[in-house]
Symmetry: C2
Amino acid sequence: MLLLTFMVICLVNHVNAQDVYAPYRQNWLKKAEQYKPVLKETVKQPFGIVKLEKDASAFQGWKTVSAGGMDQLYNKPFNKGTSGIVVDFGEHMTGYCTFTLKTLRSDMDAPLRLKLTFGEVPAELATPFDPYPGGLSRAWLQDETVTVSVLPATITIPRRLASRYVKIEWLGSSSNFEFGFSDIQFKATTSVSITPPALAAGTPQIIKDIDRVGSNTLKECMQTVYEDGPKRDRRLWIGDLYLESLANQYSFKNDGLTKRCLYLLAGLANDDGILNANAFEEPVPHAQKSRLLDYCYLFNVALKEYVTATGDVETGKDLWPVAKKQLDIAKMYAGADGMMDYQKAEREWWVFFDWKDGLDKQIPLQGITIYALNQTYALAKLLGKENEVAEIPAITKKLKEAAHKNLYDKKTGVFVSGTNKQVSYGGQAWMVLSGVATKAEAQKALKTLPSLPDAVRPGAPYMFHYYVAALIESGLKAEAKEAVTTYWGGMVKKGADTFWEVYDPADEFKSPYNFFPVNSYCHAWSCTPVYFIRKYPEIFQQ
Amino acid sequence: MLLLTFMVICLVNHVNAQDVYAPYRQNWLKKAEQYKPVLKETVKQPFGIVKLEKDASAFQGWKTVSAGGMDQLYNKPFNKGTSGIVVDFGEHMTGYCTFTLKTLRSDMDAPLRLKLTFGEVPAELATPFDPYPGGLSRAWLQDETVTVSVLPATITIPRRLASRYVKIEWLGSSSNFEFGFSDIQFKATTSVSITPPALAAGTPQIIKDIDRVGSNTLKECMQTVYEDGPKRDRRLWIGDLYLESLANQYSFKNDGLTKRCLYLLAGLANDDGILNANAFEEPVPHAQKSRLLDYCYLFNVALKEYVTATGDVETGKDLWPVAKKQLDIAKMYAGADGMMDYQKAEREWWVFFDWKDGLDKQIPLQGITIYALNQTYALAKLLGKENEVAEIPAITKKLKEAAHKNLYDKKTGVFVSGTNKQVSYGGQAWMVLSGVATKAEAQKALKTLPSLPDAVRPGAPYMFHYYVAALIESGLKAEAKEAVTTYWGGMVKKGADTFWEVYDPADEFKSPYNFFPVNSYCHAWSCTPVYFIRKYPEIFQQ
């Protein structure tokens, strides 16, 4: 995810302000560096040549059809006539593209100019980028113009790319000579080094496919941090880290990467102790000043999950001051009536939850606050620190009771949010995960949702995760399997090699950035079926 | 110059064909390498910011006006609003452009994308390049797109550039942050290391200006070979080498470069001994297979001039076999009647002389053949080799007499060419330089030209050189000075920093390549006023 038009409210860090993490910060950053993985590099060869074809039934209206082997490109003259050829590597890759150009006939007597467009999905290659209507930087789009003065030349596109396809366009060369391509390849990188175990023999094919695509998504996003997307944003966000680390626990088991990311986020927190929502590694590790309320909470949950999975109590204790500090947020906005002042919070923070216009944040905020308090208390217990947060159970109880009293609509059996009494999938999910809903209420609410045409549906796979988690939490196993199969399976059926940042089955062109090609089509927060499928084999693997 | 649509007729070099230069070739190439100059590098700072303004009275309709110092660019936010800013370095440079980008506000959370266009003249920056109508490779045009993922960044455009101006356009960046430029600079290169002596005190200003612009042109073209143009073609052509080496003798005196180029051309000649018209240095020295008749002759003339100027008889003797071999061309096409079979020659060779559609090549070919024979004989005498070419005086005499008899129109006092009896400036020039015309006839012919509206005028500065040389040869000193002052002075008055490849006072958009921005505006063959002004001070420096 990326902040788009939302103006982040930054509490100004006065020069003289005390750094609450002063005793720890350097050590945290050192540990983050220490656990920085060495990337595994694999040279990928192209699969063949494909043609882009318009097809109303294909995802975003474009499909590829095979147009022969690489011999259709290699060592044949490349010119105006052959311009637009698309090389298919057969899989999503993150890394560096290298190719060789050679003179095939006569003498090169002028430079040549090529445009290479790297695409994760076919429509990305078929949609003109300019004039660019998108809300994010045009530079995220992966088209590069190359001028080559001398042949033979082996050229590496300097920027790291994320793509399956490469479209090559001829922009100019001398008509006195002919040149051709050879050895186009990708040096693909990931910090994943193992293959997860196979699913149970009887697992339905669609679940196997979802697991495969989800694993690929996660693998592609696991670089020197858990990136949110290798094409776009390419950085560590707490929300993505949380979901990636869950999926990682059940697949690639790269605990070192989770540890690194937790330390990095801690080391780059604000002086007042509040985490920034995301961090960059280059040119030196630094955070984007971005106070995203729900992500601060999720750091605690991710840390608790990490300690639970690894038994690495030392790291838990190291980072405990950060987790404890994030609870200030709950205290800051919890009213005497036990209700979170979500309106004040929204004025002062970025309160995200989902890419969904109009989503009312009252219930999600109330729910995640309770959830984070519970999870942090569980963490405290793992670390023997519960005396430091002895007040949590009482606060949680108060928030839960108030939530149930104020947000549950007994008549309809759903939880309602805000002044307009909005019913949303996300809202029910957080009321379930927080334990506000009893199991019976949870089942009722979740089962009622499909019958409510106005219920606000999840906008992105990120929120869909919490919805599925709530279904499982409520014991709605068949519904959980159905949700995963329908939603992520829908992407698989539409040809996804990796799961997408944004997927609305009803609108394939949906983009939070006003231009679907700038969407990320390999996005970390969409990888969580891997977690569900492998954590709950009794639900999914039969 | 560059071969455009002309298909070069290459005599096939059979694998078993004997290399007539086998005993010498490796030694020649070794010597070429040995005399490869180390380029002098100078870091150039920009002069300021300029605005492009449409002005019908300016060269090609565009001028620049000052828009302030570099503080208008440096460390100010660069964005959509400031896009299109033009940096002026105040002089033509050949080399590498480097600049630094820094974050000015907030955190860079997306790559940025810039387009940089490098221009020798203002109109080059104001004319859209696409859709590209030109006949040469689009890639000659110096616009480069750059994607920058991390700041701060110091970026060097990889290709060598030739420009005075840099237009910087914003193509995209995140609206969440601001970035700015600093330290834009050029590492300019040349193999020139001295400043030529000042002209005589009383030299008219316009002559001083022409000399200055001509010297700059030559300096810019003198890289590791005599290039024809540092922006376009960027290689060693015999015709350009000849004129550059003449100007060099009277200015920068870099004899080593002339020597290198002569050896290089010899070392890259065809196995049958005929020279190729041009050579490239990269990736390894190699010739473009291009048999250009008049340029083969001019190699001999250049070698003779080099030996005369330097006394380097050893090099002359080393390369004598090449010079002798080029005379085969004369023998091949000289008929029993003493007339060159120009039609056959044109079928079998590229016969160039000028960028001028419709120029009849009969007289120029007859003239240059005689001239080359004479010059080669003079070279033979310098080397003590006249016994090897003892037949030259007789051949020359026969060609001269036939020329006079068949091509001189006594009635009009001009020489006429071809079946249509075409009168051209170039034709008269070559009849004068060859000595076919008596001094009186020469003066008559050259003086008559301006009164003939149909006389074919020189198309490019290259042919203008021979016209001026003919005026001087005929003793028409005032006319020579006037021609230089009007023609090259015309470019100076139109703001030339360096002299142009193509200049037709009546058509500023003239282009042999169908698109004036791809013309070279720093072109070697236009530098010869330096030679005239400095060799003939009595004509020009008073």
